[in-house]
Amino acid sequence: MTRVRSGLILALVMASAAVVFASGNITINAIPTEGRVKLSFNARDCWNLATRQFLSAGTLVIFDYDVELRRPGSAPWLGLFDSVLARTAVSTTAKFDTLVRKYSVSRMRSGSVFASDTFKQEAEVKDWLTTFASIELEPTAPLEPNAEYYVYVVLTIRPKKSTPSLFSILPFGREECYGRQSFTYIAR
């Protein structure tokens, strides 16, 4: 009886973990093509009051995105043993000039700015910060036809308004926003 109950609880935990990893609050659109993966995503659901408060206070707000192309491993519901085939880091920044009431925004990849602009509307800033398009991931190994892959995006927003807990220093304690998009690679 105890064994059945333990198995049931384990199954529920695994199922809930799988549901969490399958959804997330970042919407990803990944398109595998010619051995590469092109993707776009938006993290509008991660836009929150604290971000707006920091922006309106003139604080530089940074959205760091870690984008990874992964192949599920032996324990796909945990994601710890999945192999990472490609990885890139992109960031968006926004700062509101409280004097002239304009937003200065920029996009960076690997620490280098590749786009910048100014906006007057917060909605534009929101789109700028939370939306990325045409990001290309080139895997280190060729994609295998009919194999399952997924794109995993983690967003870290800085600064944070809340005090981090002791657990937040652990690797698995810092993911606030994330998204996952699975796909099957079909070679053409």
């Binding site: 206070a57 409280t98 944070k160």
Partner: protein
Amino acid sequence: MFRTSATDAPQAAPAPRRRLLDNPRIVTLIVLLLAAVMGGLFWLSGRSADIETRVLTDVVLYALLSLNMALIIALVFVLARNLVKLWVEQRQAAPFSRFRAKLVGALLAMSIVPAVLVLFSGSEILRNSAARWFSEPVDTLLKGAKDIASQYYTEQSAVLGLRADRLARTVPPAAVTGADEAALNSVLKDELFTMIDGTIEMYRAVPGSAGATDAALVTASESPTLSGESVRASADRLASRSIATGKPETAEEGLDNNGVLLRAVAPILGPDRRPIGAVVVSRHLGPEFDREATRASQAFEKYKGMELLKEPILGSYLSIFLTATLLILIAATWLGLYLAKRITRPVQQLAEGARAIGAGRLDVRLEAETGDELGSLVEAFNMMAAELQTNRAKLDQSRVDLERKNAEVDGRRRYIETVLERVATGVISLDASGRISTMNGAAQRLLGVDAGSLGQPARAVLEREDLRPLLPLVDAVEARTGRAVVQEVSLVREGRETNLATAATVLGGDGSEGAVMVLDDVTPLIRAQRVAAWRDVARRLAHEIKNPLTPIQLSAERLRRHFAAAPAPTQSLVGECTDAIIAEVESLKGLVDEFAQFARLRGPRMMPADLNALVDESLKLYAGVLQQGTLRIERQLASALPPVRLDSEQIRQVIINLVDNAMEALGGPNAATRPNGERPLIVVLTLHDVRNSLVRLVISDNGPGVPESDRDKLFMPYYSTKGRGSGLGLAIVRRIVVEHGGGIEVSGAQPTGTTFTVELPAA
């Protein structure tokens, strides 16, 4: 913990591992490290205001969190480890474990409770202080200053926009398209009068590359504080964009250390409502205003940013505080545990050392870790242990000496016992109560008692019928006169007489140490004396009897001759008498000869000889006699018999005497069959006793035997069981054997008969 003395290396226990924290350098290093970390924390808290908020909340905060996590783990580890050790020590009932647990508990409470109280109260104070950082007046003030500056910018931009729009409407399109600079300047001239430190640029649309429309400057006014050429490029871009989009626009351009340039552009529309040009109106705000406005804006932004980051900032300060508290806690906890250990360890060592000494390990020495009173106690313990060890060594030496002396005494005692056991003299020791303490084998043999008599009263043992003659000795001992009692005693047991020369001596004068009785078997001596007496008698007899025999014989013969002519009756009477006289004289002569031989037996002339050959030679004499008879002589001669030094003549006489006696005992050569059906038999055998280096000659018969009571008398002169003869045969045999250095014994044969055993020393 403790060490053993170097002099007792074999017993030395392996040197205990020195604890890391017993090393003063390590302790100093740790203290310095803690001090450095604490100093760093104080420096960090002092410089926290200068650290950028982002660094403080992102880097410092996470670093402190990590450090705190590590410190908490370290604290929990230190506490758990020591508490578990204390628990285990208590479970094992280790010495001083309860005392140590109490001490550790008290020290931990003294360090942890204040630290935790300070942490909580300090945290609360910090939180309350943080609530006052962001007050409503400051917020209002900063927001007001920022709003004023911002509003000014906004208003100036709006005014410039309106001005640009008005100018765009006022300017004649033809002047623009025709690039009539004079007409345009006249418009600008009036406008510039209403502007403070501003510039106006007018552009006309010109065809650009790839079908696009570009802006070409027609005319421009100069600012007294700003060179138009230095900022022309941005004006060109604004004009081009406005001509392209047909929309007005405002922009701000920061000038390096020269304030800010506010711009507004408005398209100039042609009759067909299409942009034919653009007007760019700019207002230069000086560096002083820009600086103040920027400061107001930055102060507001910083203030609001800090307000928003209040929690992380407070977290950073709390983390610093927590880190300091944890460091103090760890240091205090460790110090408490260390002090508890430093206090209890010497006492524990003393207890363990005392236990080790109690177990006999006197080489244990404790290591004084301090020079205080505990160190003095340890030194005193070591001195005590050394003293004990020295005394033990002396005792051991004394014990060894004593054991050696005991061994010597024991050896001497065993030697004396052995001597007493081997001597023919019987020695009996009595204790003070008259009980037999020891009795050597000779005494047991002489008295016919066994070792079971030991411990019994001597009187009870000697009450036996045959030992009663010895009771006067016991009486003398019990009388405790202190004088030795000497007497000769004759014991008769089983018909055999044993003559003992006895002496009893009381030990200790008053008999307090018991007494000693000495028994000497003087039977052989008595026998020898008797033999000597007999020899003397024999010699006298031979001398006194033999001399008159010849005249008697001659007289008898003379009488017979004298009465030869006498009447027949007389002659017959005389003849009978003289014959009787002569026969008796002859008999007396033979007797006298035997006595003379016994008395004058010469000493043996010994030479190495083969006893077996001598036996064969002697027994050949009987071959003829036994040829027709029923009696048989069987010889069983040992092979490889060593030569024996003997007088062949005398030993032959011994063999013949003994065989003759045996034949006579059996009834002669034609002896009848024995009652048990056995054939009359004489067995002559020789043996070699290698161990005693003896050669034995045994002559045994299956005749009727000799009663045991008569066996000792057989060798006495003039003793015969045959009722005839002189009785000197066996006495002579015995004398010959004794003079050969040997001995002769008689014993009964099985089932019947007599056995004579002659022992001669091998050559």
